[in-house]
């Protein structure tokens, strides 16, 4: 197992290097620079800034130095947040992003599977049509429309929930962002669950179970739901991507200081190190988590062989 783990880590290195190189080339290819401003500084000051941030060197050398820093776990200083390091910024923003994403995903799973199951059991009923209609709408309206509309309704008009995030007390400030982010995912998952459950319910082993006199609830809970969940599980990959995209919008609109917002601002301000840091961080996190989970699977289920 140790050998397997080591091999996997070695295998991940080229991928990560490729990602870093790609991102590095792209941020530096972008016109402008971190110190460009319509308030143009004098050449002397610009020279001082370039020296302070080692931007004088040729790009390959900068790249090597960056990778060298990475090996020591150093993501470098941020160009815009002049007295902060990238690690500090990501470390500060990550909890908010993860919390938002995890909460939205959990909500989407619970509501999506629930609604989908309900719709499948009452196939072609009014309830089914309502759920499916709602879910189609949920998929079809962009997050950047839903978010301001929810704010207008629940914060400005009804004043039930805070409109903004900063300084608002307690859990209330998470409600609208999480719901906004979860909505399209609830819709997708409900549709997947319904389709899959209808398919499973038509199979022989369910008919057998029913024939044995088991109630619908038991049949669904014990026999049908598990196989019906497979398509839902395989959807979770794209769901991560969707949540990541959605959270950029949600963080912008609600003013949540998460990683997505830092990325977008960083890209627009040419904060080279911050942008690179976030890309590198996300890529390595996903690679590392995959590895950890694979290894854990092996521990839990001995049938999994390492090759």
């Amino acid at each position: 197992m140790l050998r397997y783990t080591l091999l996997r880590i070695l295998g991940a290195i080229p991928t990560l290097l490729l990602v870093i190189a790609l991102a590095f080339v792209m941020v530096h290819a972008a016109p402008g620079g971190p110190f460009a401003d319509d308030r143009v500084v004098s050449p002397d000051i610009e020279a001082n800034l370039n020296t302070a941030y080692d931007l004088d060197d040729p790009l390959p050398k900068q790249f090597l130095r960056y990778v060298g820093g990475l090996l020591r776990g150093d993501l470098g200083p941020s160009f815009r947040y002049v007295d902060r390091s990238v690690s500090e910024l990501i470390g500060g923003a990550l909890p908010y992003s993860l919390m938002l994403g995890a909460a939205a995903m959990s909500l989407a799973l619970v509501l999506g599977v629930g609604a989908g199951t309900l719709a499948a059991l009452r196939q072609d009923s009014v309830l089914d049509r309502l759920i499916m209609g709602f879910s189609m709408t949920g998929i079809s309206i962009p997050v950047f429309v839903v978010a301001p509309a929810l704010i207008l309704l629940f914060a400005v008009k009804l004043k039930w929930l805070p409109a903004g995030w900063s300084g608002a007390p307690g859990v209330g400030r998470y409600v609208l962002p999480v719901v906004t982010l979860a909505l399209p995912q609830i819709a997708y998952i409900a549709r997947l669950t319904r389709a899959s459950l209808i398919d499973v319910l038509g199979r022989d082993f369910i008919r057998t179970a029913r024939a044995q006199g088991l109630g619908t609830a038991t049949v669904v809970r014990v026999h049908a739901l598990k196989p019906a969940m497979l398509p839902v599980l395989s959807y979770l990959g794209p769901a991560i991507a969707a949540i990541l995209t959605g959270s950029v919008v949600v963080e912008e609109v609600f003013g949540i200081p998460g990683v997505g917002q830092f990325f977008v601002r960083g890209a627009l301000n040419r904060d080279y190190t911050l942008v690179l840091g976030i890309v590198v961080f996300y890529a390595s996190l996903i690679v590392a988590l995959n590895l950890v989970v694979d290894v854990l699977y092996g521990v839990i289920d001995p049938r999994v062989r390492y090759r």
Partner: protein
């Protein structure tokens, strides 16, 4: 085929047609500004069927243009993803073995990448050119296609007609493109139909970030984004493009789902 599919197909056909010929139904064009008629509400008599925007430009013509641009972006992006995905998936599935394992491992890795970040970087780095939007969006979407095509190819590979071709001395390339690819058409069509709405959403997301198409061109995403700020004061600037966007997305989804069911049923029989 169910009524929903038919209705979706008809709706999409009508919308596409309108996007093509719609601008001629109105005396206006999409660039002319009119500072006497800023944000005029929709009226048939005033010849602004969908009202005007904050520069007094006719929203009917601009919406039709937006639909056109959005559909083109989405379709071309889907084509990009189709070409890459089908080629990649078919090769992996047909060649099999270590090559397949390696190629699919690569797809898994790519799934792990924060793609949207790369799209943003691309947009920032190479300014916004229209072509690039297609390519960038297509580049995100080919992974699903590759997986599905690979799965299909794996099963097709074992079928008699492929075996026959192989025995007749056909090369790998010929088999993939002559014998396997045509049999993938059904599933590919279904997935393209489902990829298009995703591409439309990505386009609107880029518009939200201000990284979308250039003025005076527009897209549904750009129109919706412009309308969001006037949700209360000039609701038609939001409602009309948003409704169209939603209906188009729904139609593609219904169509895709319906075709998939249809296709599955045919395969099962």
């Amino acid at each position: 085929m169910s009524r929903t599919i038919k209705a979706s197909a008809v709706f999409l056909g009508v919308v596409a047609l309108l996007a093509l010929v719609g601008p001629w139904l109105s005396p206006n064009d999409y660039v002319t500004t009119n500072f006497e008629k800023l944000l005029a509400p929709p009226s048939v008599g005033g010849m602004h069927f969908f009202g005007t925007d904050d520069l007094g430009r006719d929203l009917f013509v601009r919406t039709m243009l937006g639909v056109r641009v959005t559909l083109i972006v989405a379709i071309v992006a889907s084509m990009v993803s189709l070409v890459i995905g089908v080629a990649y998936g078919a090769v992996a599935g047909y060649v099999g073995g270590r090559v397949d394992a390696a190629m699919m491992r690569a797809v898994d890795t790519l799934y792990a990448l924060p793609f949207i970040f790369f799209v943003i970087l691309l947009m920032v780095a190479f300014e916004r050119n229209f072509l690039l939007i297609f390519v960038a969006i297509g580049a995100i979407n080919w992974l699903d296609m590759a997986r599905i095509v690979r799965g299909q190819t794996l099963s097709l590979r074992e079928r008699e007609f492929v075996e026959a071709a192989r025995l007749a001395g056909a090369g790998t390339t010929r088999i993939i493109f002559r014998h396997i690819a045509p049999n993938l058409v059904g599933i590919v069509v279904v997935y393209v139909t489902l990829t298009i709405p995703q591409a439309i959403l990505v386009e609107s997301f880029l518009s939200f970030l201000g990284l979308g198409v250039q003025e005076p061109q527009t897209s549904l995403g750009a129109l919706v984004n412009a309308g969001v700020g006037r949700m209360e004061s000039a609701s038609w600037t939001l409602l009309i493009p948003a409704a169209l966007l939603a209906l188009i997305l729904m139609s593609f989804n219904f169509l895709g789902d319906g075709l998939r069911d249809h296709f599955d049923a045919r395969q099962a029989s």
